[in-house]
Amino acid sequence: MIPIEVRVPALLRDCTNQKTRFTLEASTLDDALTRLVQEYPLLRVHLYDRKGALRQHVLLFYNDDNIKWLERLDLPLQPGDRLSVVQAVSGG
């Protein structure tokens, strides 16, 4: 298990015990995404719709990469990795 840093927007910190940066332990990126909503179940409704798809204006970044464009999610985690929840540009 590798500890990685997770970052969430301040608007969602009531789902994560008031923390916007915290450590999560997982073995792969896929595993980290699963553990994130298992450990903080209130996050699930804000990140995913009822069908389990990522909400349209929510982005998940693995280090500097939008995970939407990664070819695979079973990437082994490395010390120092980051998983970030980012609100997509959605204003006018």
């Binding site: 608007l11 009531d14 209130l42 409704v45 804000h46 990140l47 009822r50 909400r55 349209q56």
Partner: protein, 370 residues
């Protein structure tokens, strides 16, 4: 024991609380709470401690239901909040209304949502389930959204018979239940049909807001897209009550008395804020004028310009006008420009409360023992 009067104001950028004593001369503004969230619905509930429920939503992060037990200082998100089962295919976008159950059901709450539907909780808000007979109604395929979405924005409960309930939805109509929400019947006879493009005469009515008479539970009033209506038979039939309004159809058949909120006081005064038209959706010529119709009156009367010294090209949304139920009844409304006004003399004079807020979505009062 003295009373504390609270005005709960939901905006598109958080929740604000105004506090005063029963004199309501000096108001203290607190907030924003739930900063950054839209607050489309709020309820102060004194049945089990002092709790505030807030229906929150966000473009990116979706809807949620939150509760505070310390007058807004801290909030708990409710994990088992209203959600449509996946198999329904419906999307829950916002929580538009939260109301307490009948007085004989102290653990019950109801919530109205967009897409239109009603949810109930019988454990003080901890878990919720849909009263799905409404969305299983045969007319459901013809339900059509208004400009604010397809929202169930009004839930009324008969004061004596808890089994009788009414809901109002935009742009669908009024439905009534005689069995606590197990079955529903459309009740829209006499209303003006909205331009939804759907063929059924049973639905397609753009109710903006509906209230129940405080003394006669067979009497209801509504501001609808095409006019202002009243029912004296529990919503079996509706008729227009528009004399005196600026768009009087008796004189100008092509004009509709358009507006969003309607409020009724404990002595039966009705209050409206007419807008220029459906196309314009602001007060006419920048004059923010409240209209009142007294119980058994036949005519609406303008109660004077709320802000006579300067034009206010604003609107008042459907859930942004209310009363406080005290003996000298206070009337309150908030504008789309974030100003809150109060009257303690049945709408004759108005006081602007401190603060310039964001777009005001809902205004509710909550009186508690201090």
């Amino acid at each position: 024991m003295s009373q504390q009067v609270n005005i709960l104001v939901g905006t598109n950028k958080g929740l604000f609380l105004y506090e005063s004593d029963a004199d309501r001369q000096k108001w203290k503004l607190r907030g924003p709470f739930l900063s950054g969230w839209e607050v489309y619905s709020v309820l102060g509930d004194s049945r089990h401690g002092q709790r505030i429920f807030a229906g929150t939503s966000h473009l990116a992060y979706g809807p949620s239901l939150r509760v505070s037990e310390d007058f807004g200082e801290t909030w708990q998100q409710i994990e088992n909040a209203p959600q449509y089962p996946v198999e329904t295919g419906f999307s829950l976008n916002r929580i538009w209304q939260i109301v307490p159950g009948h007085s004989t059901q102290p653990d019950t709450l109801f919530a109205g949502v967009d897409e239109a539907g009603i949810f109930a909780s019988h454990d003080r808000g901890a878990s919720w389930h849909e009263l799905d007979a409404l969305t299983k109604h045969p007319t459901r395929p013809e339900w059509f959204p208004g400009a604010g979405g397809m929202c169930l924005h009004t839930i009324l409960i008969h004061p004596i018979n808890p089994q009788r309930m009414w809901v109002a939805m935009s742009a669908i109509g009024v439905f009534r239940s005689e069995d606590g929400g197990a079955t529903w019947q459309a009740r829209n006879q006499g209303l003006g049909h909205a331009a939804t493009g759907q063929p059924s005469p049973e639905v397609g009515y753009c109710i903006h807001k509906m209230v129940l008479d405080p003394d006669d539970p067979d009497t209801l009033y509504m501001q609808e897209h095409t006019g202002v209506f009243m029912s004296t038979d529990g919503a079996d039939s509706w008729f227009a009550i528009e004399e005196g309004l600026p768009a009087d159809r008796l004189q100008h058949p092509e004009m509709m008395p358009f507006g969003f909120p309607i409020a009724v006081s404990q002595i039966g005064d009705l209050f409206l804020v007419p807008l220029e038209s459906s196309e314009q959706r602001t007060v006419e010529e920048g004059r923010l004028i409240v209209y009142r119709r007294v119980r058994d009156g036949v005519c609406w009367e303008p109660m004077g310009d709320v802000v006579p010294d300067e034009p206010r090209h604003v609107s008042v949304l459907r859930d942004a006008m209310t009363v406080d139920g005290l003996e000298q009844e206070g009337v309150y409304f908030g504008t789309t420009s974030g100003e809150l006004y109060a009257s303690l003399d049945r709408g004759v004079n108005w006081q602007r409360l401190p603060g310039q807020l964001s777009r005001i979505l809902t205004v509710k009062t909550w009186c508690v023992d201090a």
